[in-house]
């Protein structure tokens, strides 16, 4: 039936027909909620009642003045700190696997494996590693003569670092594979030329490798920062924010405020603040990296 139409009309039909559904889905489930969150953040909506009264900036004042809400960002810091170490390790292993090495495909396969495993399963897996009395980490520490009765998930001061280390285990290989792809796209003759000029290992890394993977470092850095700001699954499944709320993250607080306390207005304001943080991080990073890249 389409055959009877001119190609011009067909073209129009295809462009409209083929893009409209994905666009609608995107607008409905990404952009509409974002705008709606901004709208709700100025109301005191409880999620049920038909009227939403406008209360101005009150929710935002609450977010920034209530240390119970904003203060949880200190928990998120652990994930950021561990994320930085994770990226350094990923770059290191990417360089190792990019060089001459026996079994490099095997090592790549093994180090990337945690990334594809089910997150809930991984959480419980580590629940047994970090268990105080029978956990394998403590048994291992005991076996090599160290203090083996640390409560890894029950200690308020470092529970977030314990959780963040699970993230390290799961995502280091993912970062590494991305760095590895970037390394492999650097032309080999750059290194040859450098060798002829007498540049050795460290210098080659500094002047050839690093500048060539800048963009990828930027990408991974962005993923690390937003990942740290938005972390949720691990503490939600494994500790449920405990002990005494010390592993609660900002996103957990948002969902709790909305779905448990039915304070949609406040939860929306918290979400908008999070979104603004992500945008700020992205802008600062663009600024720094674009300057360095030139």
């Amino acid at each position: 039936m389409l055959n009877n139409l001119s190609f011009k009309k067909q073209r129009l039909l295809i462009i409209l027909g083929f893009t409209i559904v994905p666009l609608l889905l995107l607008l409905t489930f990404s952009y509409y909620p974002t705008l709606e969150l901004i709208h709700l953040s100025f109301t005191n909506w409880d999620g049920l009642s038909p009227d939403k009264s406008w209360i101005g900036w009150d929710n935002y004042k609450e977010v920034f003045s209530n240390s119970e809400l904003f203060g949880v960002f200190t928990h998120n810091f652990a994930y950021f700190a561990v994320g930085i170490v994770q990226n350094i390790a990923a770059i290191y292993f990417a360089i190792v696997l990019n060089g001459k090495l026996r079994g490099k495909l095997f090592f790549r396969l093994l180090l990337f494996l945690p990334y594809i495993l089910n997150g809930v399963a991984v959480s419980y897996l580590f629940g047994y590693v970090f268990d105080t009395t029978q956990g394998s980490l403590n048994l291992l520490l005991h076996a090599i003569g160290l203090n083996g009765d640390t409560s890894w998930l029950g200690n308020e001061t470092f529970v977030n670092y314990t959780l963040a280390s699970i993230g390290f285990w799961k995502f280091m290989g993912f970062n590494m594979v991305i760095y590895l792809a970037a390394l492999q796209s650097i032309p080999a003759d750059l290194y040859e030329a450098a060798s002829i000029d007498g540049a050795t290992g460290w210098k080659q890394f500094l002047y050839i490798t690093l500048p060539n993977i800048y963009k990828i470092i930027e990408l991974n850095f962005f993923l690390t920062v937003t990942g740290a700001l938005e972390v949720f699954d691990l503490p939600f499944v494994l500790t449920n924010g405990g002990p005494a709320g010390s592993s609660e993250t900002y996103v957990m607080k948002i969902l709790e405020t909305a779905f448990q306390f039915n304070n949609y207005g406040l939860a929306s304001a918290m979400s908008v603040v999070l979104l603004l943080f992500v945008v700020v991080v992205l802008s600062i990073q663009r600024l720094i990296f674009s300057r360095k890249g030139e």
Partner: protein, 276 residues
């Protein structure tokens, strides 16, 4: 690239060995304990090997108690239906964007790129209400509708592929009188097969591993999926290491097998999106 000296070589292999140990150690604990009997577990160290790797009753118990047959069934159904729509919509979208020039094209793709900045989990606060209005909470349809949408990774992978298909093919087909729709369906779509394979695999793994969407939208016990079945099972049996270990293994096996046999596509997908 780094000078080949013995110190560097030792460091290199030693660090890989340590890393490999760290990756393998946690799953090792789970594997050995899943095969132990209750007595064995109580009397031996959690790190020791089981008496027999043929002791499978923990697996049977976990499979039944966690309602895994239903969980795997539901997950498979969600993955299957999502993929059919997602692949058709995504590839058609990229055909339109990749083959034709029109006003607002840059903006259109830009919208998908910009959406990645939005923290998706916080939008659930509003999406929950939307799904509720559509009467899709506590149905498989809720998560499916949320999963169907194309993401920027998928769009990049398809666009890259479409650009490498010579336009001559389209022209030949046009001269022979094929409609543009037929060109998409009979020329372009089949040629996209490797990209489709990559997307199918990545999407399957991401839906299989997602926890919060089914947790939030399908609390009904009959609508259990893999992730939520493990959560519920753990909630009741957290002290029973042997059964939980068995459950964890059974849930990790499917993606591990996919990974082992189709790693080529997974690496291609992960890197092509990122290097772009």
């Amino acid at each position: 690239m780094v000078a080949r000296n013995p110190v560097w070589n030792t460091v290199k292999y030693l660090s890989l060995l340590v890393a490999s140990f760290l990756v393998v150690f946690p799953p090792y604990i789970i594997i050995v304990n899943a095969f132990k009997t209750k007595d064995e577990f109580d009397t031996k160290s959690t790190m020791s090997l089981p008496d027999s790797f043929f002791h499978l009753s923990n697996f049977g118990h976990a499979f039944e108690q966690a309602n895994m047959s239903r969980a795997f069934g539901n997950t498979l159904l969600i993955v299957g239906i999502t993929l059919i729509f997602n692949i058709l919509l995504g590839s058609a979208f990229c055909y339109a964007v990749g083959r034709f020039h029109f006003k607002g094209k840059g903006l259109l793709v830009g919208l998908f790129l910009m959406a990645t900045v939005i923290p998706s989990i916080t939008t659930q606060v509003v999406n929950y209400k939307t799904i509720q209005h559509l009467h899709l909470t506590n149905t498989l349809g809720g998560p499916i509708l949320l999963y169907i949408g194309a993401d920027i990774l998928q769009i990049y992978i398809y666009l890259q592929f479409i650009r490498n298909i010579p336009y001559d093919l389209d022209e030949c087909a046009m001269i022979e009188g094929a409609s543009l729709f037929r060109i998409y369906w009979q020329v372009i779509f089949p040629l996209l097969a490797p990209a489709t394979a990559t997307i199918v695999i990545l999407k399957t793994i991401s839906i299989y591993n997602d926890m919060y969407t089914p947790f939030l939208y399908m609390p009904k016990p009959e609508l259990v999926v893999v992730s939520t079945s493990l959560m519920r099972f753990f909630g009741v049996n957290s002290g029973d290491w042997q059964s939980v270990s068995a459950a964890i293994i059974m849930i990790m096996i499917p993606t591990s097998i996919i990974y082992l046999f189709l790693q080529k596509y997974i690496f291609a997908g992960v890197t092509s999106g990122a290097v772009k």
